[in-house]
């Protein structure tokens, strides 16, 4: 593959990712401060675009302002990709990002208009994660590494790391939806705990596969280590957020310790998903399936030891 790397486009994509992280923080602050309905109207706020920024209005209208900014940044991203990209699928990805941010804005409006039904709030949270992943993917695709020639490496083992990484993306996304279900009072905590165990098990398995089969591949090793670090941090943050709820349940809500730990848990959850998406993309780019008959645990399908 001939390098098409455009540093300016890549930097803009990274800027979009950073703005989206800020938007995730702003959105999580709205939920933690129970400020989702502090502004009863939409798309205006108290009939204006600049209401008094006091109490819950600060969080809700602040979220709307950051979201508007991210929307404008995404329009810029779509235009830049459309004009500068020679890869048709990248142009389309820019449009997908734009469509996602528009849909997200409309879902945000629906949460206000329908007064926070859990289904809509959970969909709003899930689409936020999906949009974040799209921006991260655009940043990966516009990066130098993705656009240089990468030798294909055969993956002869089972489970295939490409398939495992795809499962990891799906299970992590479901786990974030379960977390949103708990956060918006539609689910108890148990499914979210089961999801955490599933993500952890897949991350441990992926790390083991990388160590055993791809020890010489620096990119995969670094990503596997990063994945371990963010998932470990996320589990600790989840425990701390849960503790803060229990410890402050007799106090007037919401308490700052609960707010910040929960916001951190929510945002690091998005970072976990972004990391597994990058891991899956890199696996997809580097690895190919072996052509010969599949081998399971060092024993061929004929039963002979290999």
């Amino acid at each position: 593959m001939t390098s098409l790397h455009n540093p300016g486009v890549h930097r803009y994509a990274l800027f979009t990712v950073a703005c989206t992280v800020l938007l995730l923080v702003a959105g999580a602050l709205v939920t933690s401060n129970d400020a989702g309905l502090a502004v009863p109207d939409w798309p205006t706020s108290y009939g204006t675009f600049f209401p008094p920024m006091v109490g819950g209005i600060f969080y809700e209208h602040g979220h709307r302002m950051v979201a508007t900014f991210v929307g404008l940044v995404t329009i810029g991203l779509a235009v830049i990709l459309w004009r500068s990209e020679s890869r048709p699928w990248m142009r389309r990805l820019g449009l997908v990002a734009l469509g996602a941010v528009i849909a997200q804005g409309l879902l945000g409006g629906l949460t206000v208009k329908l007064r926070l039904p859990p289904e809509v709030s959970i969909a709003h949270a899930a689409l936020a994660q999906a949009f974040f992943c799209i921006t991260v993917a655009v940043a990966v695709f516009t990066g130098r590494w993705w656009q240089q020639d990468v030798p294909a490496i055969e993956d002869a083992g089972r489970p295939r790391l490409r398939a495992l990484s795809a499962w990891l993306v799906g299970v992590t996304f479901v786990q974030l939806v379960l977390g949103a279900g708990y956060r918006h009072n539609a689910l108890v905590i148990a499914p979210h705990l089961v999801g955490a165990a599933a993500v952890l098990a897949l991350v441990i398995l992926a790390g083991r596969v990388v160590r055993q089969r791809f020890a010489g591949q620096l990119e995969l090793r670094r990503l596997a280590k990063g994945l371990n670090a963010v998932v470990g941090s996320q589990i600790l943050l989840g425990g701390a957020a849960w503790w803060s709820r229990l410890a402050t349940r007799e106090a007037p809500q919401p308490q700052p310790v609960m707010i910040w730990l929960t916001v951190a848990h929510t945002v690091v959850g998005a970072i976990v998903l972004a990391t597994v998406v990058v891991f899956a993309l890199v696996c997809h780019r580097m690895l190919t399936a072996a052509q010969e008959p599949a081998v399971v645990s060092g024993v061929s399908h004929t039963g002979a030891a290999v």
């Binding site: 502004v39 006091v54 479901v174 689910l187 007799e250």
Partner: protein, 261 residues
């Protein structure tokens, strides 16, 4: 192909998770109350009517009264610069008597219907708190919400069995008048602008109710003779029932004693 099948499985799992999240019970759709469906009964005969009176008390130490932080709105912070706003979750009077408890007839009047009062009950936002903290009214009786503050509030009742709504009210705005069509004890009301502001609205099918003051006393008068379930509801400690039988011109005394949880 194998990879594609993995993606399909993952997508289906995500869809199932979303579907699982939508199983929370929803409040039934609002319907107009139909008091006329209850059989009309003869007016209460004052000559034979009795009463139930008593007190509501807390048996044990009350929780420490929390100071509420109001500094997210400069107006509210200024209002409470010298005297911090205190939580009204448990308001204890002398000798453990409890205020803000709704005492009402829960059962025993099913065969009677009562006219809906036309005068409205008022809930005032003053000093960045709701006054009173607990109000009671009858089904379909109007409730007026007034903003006496020089800051914006939103009024957001979150009922389980009634239509919910969320309305903003700026300084000097017209009062908001609404009503609730179904019995519910009690509907939490919050202001999402000022997270510490909370109130409760008890909606009842009959006129036999009172909200206790700091003396914890109640007196349900003019009750026709019969068997009744009397309930005391407190926002932190929940509900407590007692059964009483009222004979002609009889005055019964019952006390409710909540235990700190």
């Amino acid at each position: 192909m194998i990879i594609r099948s993995h993606y399909v499985v993952v997508a289906v799992a995500a869809a199932l998770a979303l579907a699982a999240c939508s199983k929370k019970e929803e409040a039934p759709a609002e319907k107009a109350a139909a008091p006329a469906s209850a059989p009309a009964a003869a007016p209460v005969d004052a000559a034979t009517a009795g009463s139930v009176a008593g007190t509501v008390k807390l048996d044990g130490p009350a929780p420490k009264v929390a100071k509420l932080k109001t500094d997210s709105d400069p107006y509210c912070a200024k209002m409470h610069a010298s005297s911090p706003l205190l939580s009204e979750e448990v308001v204890e009077g002398k000798d453990g008597m409890l205020a803000n408890v709704v005492v009402y007839v829960k059962a025993g009047l099913e065969n009677r219907s009562f006219p809906t009062p036309t005068e409205s009950v008022t809930l005032t936002q003053s000093g960045c708190e709701y006054k009173p903290h607990v109000v009671a009214l009858m089904v379909n009786q109007p409730i007026s919400i007034v903003n006496a503050d020089q800051t914006t509030h939103n009024i957001h009742p979150t009922p389980a069995n009634n239509r919910d709504w969320n309305k903003s009210q700026g300084p000097g705005a017209e009062k908001i008048t609404d009503s609730f069509a179904r019995e519910e004890v009690a509907i939490p009301v919050k202001c999402n602008v000022h997270s510490w502001m909370k109130a409760y609205i008890a909606v009842l099918k009959n006129p036999y109710y009172q909200v206790t003051s700091a003396d914890g006393a109640f007196d349900l008068k003019n009750l026709p003779p019969g068997d009744y379930t009397i309930t005391a509801w407190q926002e932190k400690y929940g509900s407590m029932d007692q059964k009483v039988t009222i004979g002609p011109k009889e005055s019964k005394k019952i006390d409710f004693v909540f235990k700190p949880s």
